[in-house]
Amino acid sequence: MSAFTALLARDLHLALRQSADSFTVVAFFAIATVLFPFGVGPEAEVLARIAAGVLWVAALLAALLSLDRVFTVDFEDGSLDQLLLNGQSLTLMVLAKVAAHWLTTGVPLIIMSPVMAVTLQLPAEGYGVLVLALILGTPTVSLIGALGAALVLGSRRGGVLLSLLVLPLYIPVLIFGTAAVEAAITGMPSGPMLSVLAGLALIAVTLCPLGTAAALRQAAE
């Protein structure tokens, strides 16, 4: 078994043992979404108009909450030192951590999103594209988030600082993720936006692990 699969399996195993963590993230996603109708009123047209944006923003914030822990636990219990000493590429190790984060938070959010879309009166045409956009967009969220989490490792105000660093970088994903769903609702082709989301994911998957690895090595130094 390679280091990649070993680490991925360990993180999934740990997430399973501590499944309350993943559950909390999904619950946060749900409650954050539910707050909006109270803020803007329950009119179906208004909700349908903002549904895509609300779901994306809530998903970003929910993912952000879980990012704080991606490396912190390993950093604090000394596992990070040992992970750095695997004698292989550090970027591969980072990808395993990111994959585990995506599987334990991104995927539950994707599964939950159509349910929350129902409460926001999302028109029927939007569901397929919403899920597709989340599938293409959430890996970028995990990749950029892991980079931010590695940068703030060991800092005095990790969580709050992380949001300040990472949220501006999420704006392109938010723009194209929302636009894809809106295009689908208004009968426009959503293919171009989905392609851009896929492109962003490709850029993120090539560049972010390098930065994350560099940040982790410095955190250990």
Partner: protein, 222 residues
């Protein structure tokens, strides 16, 4: 790699190592050589840089100047150097949610070793009876033994041990001494930072305070 095998002949040395942390020069011009099967005991008062030097040797930290050599060849790539060594620091890298066996099995798999030695490793450090215990129930000494068991479970030629005698009772101390002796007999190398017990008989001693910079050189502008 079985226990009966010996390691390929290797030596580990450092030349002219200088380390600066937080604007303070910790040590300068430090050199050492560990022959095949050799041991090096780091001694020095608190703050003399024992842990820093161990992390430097592991490639976790980079020296401000100087270089490390593996069998005479300069180590260019710290990532590849990780394959040569096991580092046991103050933190034990144990997941409380896993059992003792699972904790060991993960690191063995992660480092790409086969799992044939896990049982022997647990026996060596008196953990066999605790194999299926969740690690969160372990005492401090037991956790430390679990960390040390990684040395046996996934062999590597160079061991870097930071205060390995901490929190160990007499019996475990004996087990550790025996393990180190067996490791060296197979051609393995050990570096220890230690205050007390003599865990590596016949090993060289490196007194770090000898390499502390003089007062004038200790503080730099930046």
């Amino acid at each position: 790699m079985g226990t009966s095998d010996t390691f390929k002949t290797a030596t580990f040395s450092g030349e002219n190592l200088t380390c600066r942390r937080g604007g303070r020069m910790v040590f300068a011009g430090l050199g050492f050589t560990i022959p095949t099967g050799g041991a090096l005991v780091l001694r020095g008062p608190n703050g003399s840089g024992k842990t820093t030097l161990l992390r430097l040797m592991a490639g976790l930290a980079r020296p401000t100047a100087g270089r490390l050599l593996w069998s005479g060849a300069a180590l260019e790539d710290p990532e590849a150097h990780g394959r040569h060594l096991r580092f046991i620091g103050h933190l034990d890298a144990i997941k409380p949610a896993f059992t003792v066996r699972e904790n060991l099995a993960f690191w063995v798999a992660f480092w790409g070793r086969d799992d044939g030695l896990i049982g022997r490793a647990m026996e060596a450090f008196g953990l066999a009876a605790l194999a299926d215990f969740p690690a969160r129930l372990l005492s401090a000494g037991q956790r430390h033994r679990l960390a040390l068991a990684r040395l046996v479970a996934s062999p590597a030629p160079l061991w870097l041990l930071d205060e390995p005698a901490n929190a160990l009772d007499d019996r475990s101390l004996g087990a550790l001494t025996d393990t180190i002796a067996a490791h060296r007999a197979r051609g393995g190398m050990v570096v220890l930072a230690s205050h007390g017990a003599d865990l590596a008989s016949g090993g060289a001693t490196l007194a770090l305070d000898k390499f502390a910079p003089t007062d004038a050189a200790q503080w730099t502008d930046l």
